[in-house]
């Protein structure tokens, strides 16, 4: 939970609503895992006031990358950060994904910017020689980020959008069942949509496939102190409240209580 200043290498718009930032992480000593996040100051000035959480999109030798959706004031300000300036971050934070080296194929179900969280996992899968199938859902084709990146990793990518009328849950379910027929899926990972998370949870349940989900919650401290970011997970003893920033953001898909 240390604060770092990482030199910004580039910060560029990659589609109408998304931006991509590369920072020099060579001075970071702690290891970074897919699914972890940084708590980032979005501007060089004092406002917006609170930090914003962003997943690590790609982890490279001496750089890391973020992919972000321009949503409100914070992300708007972030687009003004320039190469050469320092990015003020706290992290890496939270618990990342667990990926079994012996897995044959994993399935990623990402909605919108959820892919920013799952992409690093796809990258790890490649490195571990685990195959990857991915469903990318978005409002429009313009929002289908990272499809090329994933394909570059050798992943089998399915794209669905509102624009094409292909993103309804029923259609996604059909695609998933097709994938399951053709592959031995050893893990389901999802991020970015409550509807698709429920679907993934049901399918994981039905097929007895372990799964994980990366959650988002509004955060205060992002270091486990304030209890702003809670969600519920099922335990043997009942439902337990956990902190997305500390015990998550990645949770067992089976155990998480989707509100």
């Amino acid at each position: 939970m240390k604060q770092h200043f990482m030199p910004i290498i580039s910060n560029q718009q990659v589609s109408s609503r998304y931006w991509h930032m590369v920072v020099d992480s060579s001075r970071l000593t702690s290891p970074i895992e897919p699914g972890q996040f940084f708590h980032i100051r979005c501007s060089q000035g004092s406002f917006p006031f609170l930090r914003r959480p962003f997943s690590i999109y790609r982890i490279n030798e001496s750089t890391i990358e973020f992919l972000y959706l321009v949503k409100g004031e914070g992300t708007q300000e972030m687009t003004h950060l320039q190469a050469g300036e320092m990015l003020d971050v706290v992290g890496p934070l939270g618990v990342g994904f667990s990926l079994d080296k012996s897995a044959d194929t994993i399935l990623l179900v990402a909605r919108g910017v959820g892919i920013a969280t799952l992409a690093a996992l796809a990258q790890e899968a490649v490195e571990k020689n685990v195959k990857c199938a991915a469903i990318l859902s978005a409002r429009s084709k313009d929002d289908l980020l990272a499809a090329d990146l994933l394909q570059g990793f050798g992943a089998e990518v399915y794209k669905v959008t509102e624009e094409d009328g292909t993103s309804d849950v029923a259609n996604v379910e059909e695609i998933i069942r097709g994938i399951l027929k053709r592959n031995k899926i050893d893990g389901i990972y999802t991020c970015g949509s409550r509807r698709l998370s429920r679907l993934s949870q049901n399918i994981a349940n039905e097929y007895h496939i372990p799964g994980e989900i990366a959650l988002e919650e509004h955060m205060g401290c992002a270091m486990g102190a304030c209890f702003a970011c809670v969600c519920d997970v099922k335990e043997d003893t009942g439902v337990k409240s956990v902190r997305v920033c500390l015990e998550g953001p990645v949770f067992s898909l089976e155990k998480v209580v989707l509100g």
Binding site: M1, K2, Q3, R41, S46, F47, P48, F49, L50, R51, V90, E217, H218, M219, G220, C221, A222, M223, G224, A225, C226, F227, A228, C229, V230, C231, S241, L246
Partner: protein, 305 residues
């Protein structure tokens, strides 16, 4: 020879090696990776309730201009867990432990204070009288002078540790409540808890906080808190702990000059994990620059004419 700086502050039997401590609810054991707890004036864990309680629905925080609103709802593991795990965890540090207590009735405050206050590792109690009095009409204890006085009195009867009354700023006259707390036997006053506030997302027309309203903290509130510290310092001789909106050493000094003997830092730590030690350094720099070698000389040193 370089003159030594004295940053020690005494509050009743409580000796703080410096005036900087965390604000309850904005501090936890997880922060030990970021800062050295032994360098703090005191440790103040999140308010504890007698029984475990789940807290409020999310979203529990939202940002406003230069501030934030929170409505955590005192998510708590209850008194037993607190005695067994929380106190020992914090007792491992040399900084004194101030336990913050939230309760639903005067009796419950007394009951909990007796248990917690008599634990040898607890150095003081902070009574969070900003929570709603369920036996009253639901208004906060600290909104009513008589209730405040009898609450502090009841707690005073069951424990000898210093009692810090954490006042709510949502009152017509903070002086009246301060005097009531003094009459009840408070050792010190925390000025103050959060301002009650609300924000709405105009697009969805929904409150930005799951619980509709919440407590407002951060730099936006500081001018109200500084005013209250000054007002309270004019009417009582009790030491004041200033709290609300401190982001840097200058803000802490503003409260000290207004009349606070010590200060608590909450929201700032969310943004700068090292806010507390940084603030202490800035205060020391200020003292050196102004050749003030004892922090106590700064307390209430405002010049008005």
């Amino acid at each position: 020879m370089i003159a030594q700086l004295n940053t020690e502050i005494v509050i009743g039997s409580l000796k703080l090696k410096n005036p900087i401590m965390p604000a309850s609810g904005a501090f936890g054991p997880e922060m030990k990776d970021a800062i050295d707890f032994n360098e703090l004036g005191a440790l103040v864990p999140k308010s504890i309730t007698r029984l475990p309680q789940p807290g409020n629905r999310t979203p529990r925080v939202c940002e406003t201009t230069a501030g934030m609103i929170n409505s955590i709802g005192i998510q708590s593991k209850g008194l037993d867990y607190y005695m067994k795990y929380t106190i020992p965890e914090f007792a491992a540090y040399s900084a004194p432990l101030i336990s913050s207590i939230s309760a639903d009735s005067v009796d419950e405050f007394a009951e909990m204070s007796e248990v917690i206050g008599n634990h040898p590792d607890v150095d003081a109690l902070e009574l969070n009288i900003s929570c709603p009095n369920l036996k009253g009409n639901g208004e906060a204890f600290g909104m009513n002078a008589e209730v405040t006085e009898s609450l502090i009195q009841a707690v005073k009867n069951v424990t000898d540790v210093p009692l810090i009354a954490k006042l709510t700023p949502n009152v017509t006259s903070i002086q009246d409540i301060a005097l009531a707390a003094e009459a009840g036997g408070a050792t010190a006053l925390n000025v103050a808890n959060t301002l009650l506030a609300m924000a709405i997302d105009t697009e969805s027309r929904r409150p930005l906080i799951g619980n509709i309203m919440g407590g407002f903290s951060g730099p936006a509130v500081k001018p109200v808190i500084v005013r209250m510290i000054y007002q309270v310092s004019q009417v009582t001789n009790l030491p004041i702990i200033g709290c609300g909106g401190i982001m840097n050493g200058k803000d802490a000094l503003e409260m000290i000059i207004a009349g606070a003997s010590a200060v608590q830092v909450g929201t700032a730590s969310f943004i700068y994990p090292t806010a507390m030690p940084d603030i202490l350094e800035e205060i020391k720099d200020y003292m050196k620059r102004h050749a003030i070698y004892d922090i106590n000389e700064l307390v209430g040193s405002i010049q008005v004419d």
